[in-house]
Symmetry: C2
Subunit: 286 residues, 2 copies
């Protein structure tokens, strides 16, 4: 099952068709995409039975109308240094426990947005984002997958100067400017993937002249703390809540790790894609 | 005006009387305490006209039924090192910008709770907590007070071993265990204070035998970044949202800064009071 937020209404999507959930369910499920996580399992049981493309009420998908699949998360949990090569390029040791920060909720955005550059050291971080379905504390690793609604694509945009200023370092501030947590285009449930632990993840920078540069190209097999382990560890401290977002960390290839360092410029576009989910795009402006 | 969350219903309170808002307003305002922040100004205009103690529908206040005044904040912004003497006892330089972390929303609790100690280095931090009324970005310092719903009392409970483990330090994890963000007993609007920038703030530890030890005793006049300045600075990065909590930092006197260090023990009770608001209490269990 693939769901999307289409201008604030929950939809099921398949290929190039979308189906409004409230209409198709005759009001059983609310149109608000944030409300679906309160009883995720009932919704998922209903939604997986629907053949969207063949449904008489389905309509063409308008990609430009897509917003964040989980638009009002109670908690946005960022995980740093969760790919070994990225920890190395950041000059930091491999963590013994997940390195956690937040991206404040007001930075959450949809899959196709414009971003005003708040500084001259804005960097990209392609990330697999877990959307929590069923909440909980002290979740065993073996039970962790049952707490996941699905995966979406995220960018953990980071203003590096702000992130690293002060003691302790200001990760949560450097990563929370407007539209710095774009997500989408859809939430895909785990049954959509042949192997949900092995997904290609990549970032392209597209210049104002259309030149494409692939800067990140990896696989989620490289996660230091894989998704189930991560959920288990996080839930020993934080109660996970329905609709929460977990940004699971980025593979190598960020601008901060390049020699010379290279950051996002006015007129550039970022395209982040994860196998089996889709791509999100941000356009940057000075 | 003083408002409280009484077992999930919004109430106006005065001295030892409480008035259910939905009932008294004949349904104009919703009973959900979290909903009131969506149109704070309309509510405040109505609520300040009510004489709670004289109102025919008011009932005796049951202190044991109080919950968090803003129970579902979209963002919980923690500010560290915001009293000069506390920065010194923490061994850290005085910050040039607010030091920001989050207390994840699942740690938010009411004013009278039991806390399971997750480790043997749990410390106290008495804090004035700002509750946001009207949201916004790039708020001028001169306009900041108009964005405040009111003040409440908070404890920024901190497991110091977890907080300081890893690189960067894990403030948001060390401060987000269950019930680690107790708040209350009421939200008091700024007109309730003779000088809302000069409030006595203190923490008492009460031993199992009833012995009281005053460990923090200061005034909010000592804030490095006073409330209006803090709101202005934070809003340059983060869009403030209605109902958000801002934990404004703690004065000196935490256990980590003592020689020898001293942390909370099984059977101890913490009582944190701020002038003009009231007191919150936590009981600790191993």
């Amino acid at each position: 099952m693939r769901i999307a937020n289409i201008t604030g209404r929950l939809a099921l999507v398949a290929e190039d068709r979308a189906l409004d959930v409230e209409t198709a369910s005759e009001g059983r499920f609310h149109s608000d995409p944030a409300a679906v996580f309160a009883d995720w399992e009932s919704f998922a049981a209903w939604g997986t039975e629907i053949d969207v493309a063949a449904h008489p009420l389905s309509t063409p998908l308008q990609a430009s109308a897509l917003a964040a699949p989980s638009p009002r998360p109670r908690q946005v949990i960022g995980v740093g240094l969760n790919y070994a090569d990225h920890a190395a390029e950041s000059g930091l040791p491999l963590p013994e426990q997940p390195v956690v920060f937040t991206k404040f909720a007001s930075s959450v955005a949809g899959p196709d947005v414009d971003v005003q550059l708040p500084g001259d050291t804005v960097d990209w971080e392609a990330e697999l984002v877990v959307v929590v379905g069923r909440g909980g504390r002290n979740i065993a690793e073996a039970d962790a997958l049952s707490h996941i609604a699905g995966y979406t694509v995220g960018q953990d945009l980071s203003e590096r100067t702000v992130q690293w200023q002060g003691t302790p370092a200001q990760f949560s501030m450097g990563k929370s400017f407007e539209n710095f947590a774009p997500t989408g285009p859809v939430l895909a449930t785990l049954d959509e993937f042949a192997d949900h632990n092995n997904l290609a993840i990549q970032t392209l920078i597209i210049g104002p002249d259309g030149t494409e540069t692939r800067v990140q190209d990896s696989s989620t097999t490289q996660l230091v703390f894989p998704v189930a382990d991560l959920i288990s560890r996080l839930s020993r401290t934080i109660e996970l809540l329905p609709g929460d977002l977990i940004f699971t960390g980025t593979p190598p290839g960020v601008g901060m790790g390049m020699d010379p360092q290279r950051f996002l410029q006015d007129g550039e576009t970022l395209r982040t894609e994860i196998e089996g989910i889709g791509a999100i795009v941000q356009r940057f402006h000075a």
